[in-house]
Amino acid sequence: MVAKVLMKDLLIGLRRTFYYFFTKPITVQYPKEKLQPFPRFRGFIRLVKDEEDKFKCIACMQCARVCPAQCISLKGEGKGKERHPVEFNIDFSRCIFCGFCVEVCPVNALEFTSFYEGAQYDLDWLKFDIDKLTQDYKKWERTFKK
């Protein structure tokens, strides 16, 4: 009863908020500041080239087959060791970033980048073809001038 009159229950809560009043905010001011994603982060997918500027991809079609969203389409050319892709399209407007294609690839020709800012005005921008898939994704990252 005394506790009720003295509003003990409310004061306990207020003490807690008062305590946090003097602690530093934990907010990250995006896009002024950005957090670096962890190495395993599943961002946009890139096609990897080896040292001789050739595609690692052997156009085995496994990624296209395993994709649950069916957003990968490719065409290969050549036989045996010469086999390489001539067309490789990933539709990132359909991609669900499950990572099955990267997991299934026998030659590690696909890799994840830490690029995640895929909100675009233009839908066609998200339809990546073979040239776009090999570019450095860093240049598309949003920057905010202070």
């Binding site: 409310l10 809560g13 990572g99």
Partner: protein
């Protein structure tokens, strides 16, 4: 209430001198009370998604509630018939997107049961660890939004701070923050990264003190108590009859937890208590979830202890093309919201013939009309919050 009002009105009419005799008779014939129909949702911020309720009111009191669902229907069950067993895993992520590890867990267990796969113990412990983290994160988001609906804004911010820590852990281990897609048929996708277990341990140490933060703001707070105690009552018998499960059922005093009653994975080797409170109201459900968070934290600690000591494979030997034998299987697991069941009918091909998902929120939602009866409109929001629905799971 309404009857009393009508009587008062009649008395007033009888006393009335300003009205003539004819007018009085006319009024008696023409005026009558009628239920008021009010539409709530589907874009109401406190319906946790796209839930539509048709409330029929007498004054401020609720007579009946009709639940309209289907605004987030994506046809997951039908889609699954056109996907291979492996490709269904990302679909299950998107059922309850707040606790995706738990959703994966039920599905992979069902397929493993159908195929008779033995999973390495280390993989099982990793799965349980992830599932319990998912449970904490789901309950944190529930507490945050539930308190926000009722009017306690501060808790929302504190809860999201801790949830962020768990999402970071998910990102570190699995690569995804919300849709983790970490579980595979026969194990998990990859072993835990270095330093992950230390981070989990760190979280487990901080977390109980953070729960105290929420307690300070809610546990004995008089506004919280008056908004939750004796609101949306549902007794044990009705709760069982309506098919309630999970924390909502345990809030009615029924001691039923699939992790203990039908142990799957390695839950029988872990030591934890089942949170049961018999208040039958919104406050009891809050207490259940609050205790469950702490119990999950205990389970996580035990898993970390085991995982630190042992090493080994995290994937069983599974054929590349998954082709379960013809037959059917039902596997029920305890998801954060209640009993999550997967019923798979296989015809021996690479795709399931039929996949039925028994989602907890869908069954729990059907108790809402029972809970809201006789309460005020503002209590509907407390009731919706207390059964913790996610519309991605209700509509599938």
């Amino acid at each position: 209430m309404a009857v009393k009002e009508e009587q008062q009105f009649k008395e007033l009419l009888a006393k009335g001198t300003s009205l003539g005799k004819v007018d009085q008779d006319l009024m008696r014939e023409t005026i009558k009370t009628q239920d008021l129909w009010i539409n709530m949702g589907p874009q109401h911020p406190s319906t946790h998604g796209v839930l539509r309720l048709i409330l029929s009111l007498q004054g401020e009191r609720i007579v009946d509630t009709e639940v309209v669902i289907g605004y987030l229907h994506r046809g997951t069950e039908k889609l699954a018939e056109a996907r291979t067993y492996h490709q269904i895993i990302p679909l299950t992520d998107r059922l309850d997107y707040l606790a995706s590890p738990n959703m994966n867990f039920g599905y992979v267990l069902a397929v493993e049961k159908l195929m008779g796969i033995e999973v390495p113990e280390r993989a099982e412990y990793i799965r349980v660890l992830m599932a319990e983290l998912g449970r904490i994160s789901s309950h944190l988001l529930w507490l945050a939004t539930h308190a926000l609906d009722i009017g306690a804004m501060t808790v929302f911010l504190y809860c999201f701070r801790e949830r962020e820590m768990i999402l970071d852990l998910f990102e570190m281990a699995t690569g995804g923050r919300l849709t983790t897609t970490y579980y595979r048929i026969g194990g998990v996708a990859y072993d835990l990264p270095e330093g992950f277990l230390d981070k989990v341990e760190e979280f487990c140490e901080i977390f109980p003190s953070r729960v105290k933060d929420y307690d300070d703001l809610l546990y004995a707070n008089r506004i919280w108590l008056s908004r939750t105690v004796n609101i949306a009552k549902i007794d044990a018998e009705t709760a069982i009859a309506l098919g309630l499960s999970g924390p909502s059922l345990r809030g009615s005093g029924v001691n039923w937890d699939l992790r203990r009653n039908q142990p799957y994975s390695v839950y029988d080797k872990l030591d934890f208590e089942v949170a049961v409170f018999d208040g039958c109201d919104v406050y009891a459900r809050y207490l259940v979830r609050r205790k469950e968070m702490l119990e999950s934290c205990k389970i996580v600690k035990q898993c970390v202890e085991y995982l630190k000591k042992t090493e080994g494979p995290v994937m069983a030997k599974v054929p590349k093309v998954i082709k379960p034998p013809a037959g059917e299987v039902y596997m029920a697991t305890e998801a954060p919201k209640g009993e999550l069941g997967y019923y798979i009918v296989s015809d021996g091909s690479t795709k399931p013939y039929r996949l039925k998902i028994r989602t907890p929120s869908f069954a729990n939602l059907m108790s809402l009309p029972e809970m809201c009866k006789g309460h005020l409109v503002a209590d509907v929001i407390a009731a919706i919050g207390s059964i913790d629905i996610v519309l991605g799971e209700v509509d599938r």
